[in-house]
């Protein structure tokens, strides 16, 4: 055992002991509830205590620098922390785009003042951020955005409309792509931080096919934004946005199917469909598909781990691969769960269905967004073929 290994062992022992003392047993395997309703946090003493404990230690954002309230852990240490969490059904009590996308980006591109102002509240789980990227009519072609920010001296004057801004109903701040120059497409974009309490900001929730309202439209009408809220230089917004999207894809692709462990499909199938004399799931066609799906899911998880292992330095190019493979896994699982639950799997409301059953249908529908947001499946395939495989432009 070399020096590094023994240090890691020591860290593992320390982490285990600390978690044992601090993780409320009542929350074991309840990460999904948490995840599901992010970015709002569940109420209750244990939830608050756990968040407070983890955030004080900086482990809500384990890899971020300690000077801004992060944990300062290495990638290896972080893996160990996650491993120990998983063993006890634990989870990191911070989630959402501030932690997974905006924070890392601001740490790279922000000024010292901007970091000092915005990062520590994120580490403490206090501020909720939303992303002002997509616009109606732009779709996958993000850079065709039209929301304008006009220079009016000390402030920018922002006018326009954003869509698909997740969590904007509860957000304190919005990081926003705005057009400061109409003569260039990509080079005319800037990256602005907007206080959601500013006059002229209006939020209208969007109802999805799953019934959820996790996204909204945001309207900006003559909103004044101080110039100190510009991240990077004028017209450097697209560069920052691309970096942030890389974090986003990584997050979407790399994240486990949920924070906790999902119930294996075969177990659900045995319950809902039953087994034959030899103990096999009675629907043999389904049984064969469950196997293939579980294999895919397992290989996807292994790939997430491999990519994390390989990408010791900087962002990995594999994020598009991970995202598309995850879409496939998630959506197949959703469809199969509906199929398995049969007449109990197509409920929408009422007491005839358990909460789990109703959730499974809604989740199946909601999952369809996984291959649309953060760059569609098709956009990812473009990225893979062009950037990784070097197949040039198709036009």
């Amino acid at each position: 055992m070399n020096v590094q290994d023994s240090q890691l062992s020591a860290f593992r022992a320390e982490a285990r002991e600390w978690l044992d003392k601090n993780f409320p047993k009542s929350l074991a395997h309840r990460g999904d509830e948490y995840f599901d309703i992010a970015p709002r946090y569940p109420e209750g003493e244990d939830w608050a205590a756990w968040r407070k404990a983890m955030c004080s230690k900086g482990w809500g954002t384990p890899t971020w620098p300690t000077e801004y309230g992060g944990g300062g852990l290495t990638r290896q240490q972080t893996l160990i922390l996650r491993d120990e969490l998983e063993k006890i059904g634990g989870f990191i009590p911070l989630t959402g785009i501030a932690v997974s996308m905006f924070g890392p980006t601001l740490l790279e591109y922000g000024t010292a003042e901007q970091k000092q102002r915005h990062i520590p509240p994120i580490c403490r789980g206090e501020t909720i951020w939303c992303q002002g990227y997509s616009e109606p009519g732009a779709g996958s072609d993000l850079a065709s955005l039209k929301t304008r920010a006009e220079d009016i001296g000390d402030n920018f004057l922002v006018n326009g409309q954003k869509i698909w801004t997740s969590g904007s109903m509860h957000a304190h701040w919005c990081f926003c792509l705005v057009r400061t120059d109409t003569s260039h497409k990509h080079e005319g974009i800037s990256f602005l931080l907007i206080d959601m309490k500013s006059p002229g900001v209006e939020v209208r929730p969007i109802t999805l096919i799953s019934g959820k309202q996790s996204f909204a439209e945001v309207f900006f009408t003559d909103v004044k934004v101080p110039k100190e809220n510009l991240v990077g230089g004028l017209r450097e917004g697209w560069t920052i946005a691309k970096r942030l999207m890389q974090f986003e894809r990584e997050g979407i692709g790399a994240r486990r199917m949920t924070v906790g462990e999902l119930r294996p499909l075969d177990e659900v199938a045995r319950e809902y469909i039953g087994t034959d004399a030899e103990g096999r799931i009675a629907d043999l066609d389904l049984r064969a598909r469950i196997v293939r799906h579980q294999m895919w899911e397992r290989a996807h998880r292994l790939t997430v781990a491999r990519v994390a292992d390989e990408a010791k330095t900087g962002p990995s190019e594999a994020t598009s691969v991970l995202k598309n493979a995850a879409s496939h896994a998630l959506q197949t699982r959703g469809e199969m769960l509906t199929e398995i639950m049969g007449f109990q799997g197509i409920g929408w409301d009422g007491d005839d269905y358990t909460q789990t059953e109703k959730d499974s249908m809604k989740q199946m529908l909601q999952n369809k967004a996984h291959s649309i947001y953060g760059g569609t499946y098709e956009v990812q395939a473009n990225i893979i073929s062009k950037r990784i495989l070097g197949m040039l432009d198709h036009q």
Binding site: D285, E339, I372, H394
Partner: protein
């Protein structure tokens, strides 16, 4: 599309016009948003007036005897716009059950009322998580000269709007046996019946029905006591092909809507329809849809011909239509992108309705199993 006779063409065109005009998907949206009910009685009246409820009913009982060939065309058109009506369950399934299993007296009593739409009759067969008639546990015990029914049925199609139900009950044997099953006609207002609507994802009128000592007379039995399984399976095969026709229409519409969207939506300065990856995906979907159409049209013919080929054809049609409807509705959302995910757009209605139809009267996997067993492997 199969080559149609003049009469069939008129029927199809009439259905197309009526659906587009009177019952487009926006009408279903209004119905859903209003929360008023799961079918629109005014539309049902129009449907009945046009004679569609009597398409498979013999002329002597007030129908037009156009067969499934005719009904399939109407259901396909209704499927396109997701029309909510009891035409399928009453006009096709119940009517077929009476034709194939009912006595002359029963036919005389029910078929004219089904044909003119004054009675809505549904089928109450399912009990568990998935369609499986042999597992029927609801009992019909002999009592006096009639029977007493006890048990619960679920997924009773248009059950809240029905005037009567054809109930599959166990008169002997144990759940799992196909022998000992009996089909009985039971009015929904009989004493001991409790119904409540299921809030299914497609927001149609499925019901759960509880039978507590429901008394019926000896004339309630259709066909042989204890021998309903085989003849009912034939009726159900007709129902499955009807569902396949509805799903085919749904797929055709989902495809057409998606194609139209791709031809107008611009991304990266290019109309989406110009992206070769999307062209090839649409080409593959179109190809598969042609196979599904062939399977459905073949099944319709085989059912009407009444020969040995009907069972295989019904299996093929239901399995392929279910699989393709699943795929097509998924692609409808994917190819529409964000807008397809919103409730204000119709794509969600298609995927939700599809998931339900896929499993009604047996899903693709169950019919694949039937296919294998029929061929002895």
């Amino acid at each position: 599309m199969a080559v149609l006779t003049e009469e069939q063409t008129m029927l199809r065109d009439g259905a197309q016009d009526w659906v587009t005009d009177r019952a487009p998907v926006s009408a279903f949206r209004k119905l859903r948003d209003s929360g008023a009910g799961t079918m629109d009685p005014a539309l049902w009246k129009e449907i009945a007036e046009m004679g569609w409820a009597g398409i498979v009913v013999p002329e002597e009982h007030g129908g037009s005897d156009f067969g499934l060939t005719g009904m399939g065309l109407v259901l396909e058109e209704m499927g396109k716009q997701l029309v909510a009506s009891p035409l399928f369950i009453s006009g096709l399934v119940a009517a077929t059950a009476f034709r194939q299993m009912g006595s002359a007296a029963q036919q005389g009593e029910w078929l004219p009322r089904i044909a003119d739409g004054s009675a809505i009759v549904t089928l109450a067969v399912d009990e568990g998580n998935r369609h499986d008639t042999a597992r029927t546990a609801l009992t019909a015990e002999a009592s006096g000269s009639g029977y007493v029914l006890n048990g619960t049925k679920t997924m009773v199609i248009d059950g809240m709007d029905a005037d009567a139900m054809l109930v599959l009950a166990r008169t002997s044997g144990a759940p799992g046996h196909s022998a000992g099953l009996t089909l009985l006609i039971v009015p929904t207002d009989a004493a001991g019946i409790e119904r409540h609507g299921l809030a299914t994802v497609d927001r149609r009128g499925h019901a759960k029905v509880t039978f507590s000592g429901v008394q019926v007379g000896p004339d309630a039995v259709l066909g042989e006591v204890g021998g309903a399984h085989a003849p009912l399976e034939k009726v159900l095969d007709v129902a499955r092909v009807g569902l396949a026709a509805e799903m085919l229409g749904m797929c055709q519409q989902a495809f057409d809507t998606t194609l139209a969207y791709l031809k107008t939506r611009v991304q990266f300065n290019t109309i989406l329809a110009q992206f070769q990856a999307l062209q090839h995906r649409m080409a593959d979907l179109f190809m598969e849809m042609q196979l599904v159409r062939s399977a459905v049209e073949h099944a319709v013919r085989e059912i009407d011909a009444g020969g040995d080929g009907a069972e295989e054809a019904a299996i093929l049609a239901k399995a392929m239509a279910s699989d393709f409807a699943n795929k097509m509705t998924r692609q409808m959302i994917q190819l529409h992108g964000g807008i397809g995910m919103t409730d204000q757009y119709d794509a969600g209605f298609y995927i939700k309705r599809s998931r339900l139809l896929e499993m009604t009267f047996g899903n693709a996997a169950q019919h694949c199993e039937r296919w294998a067993r029929m061929r002895g492997y």
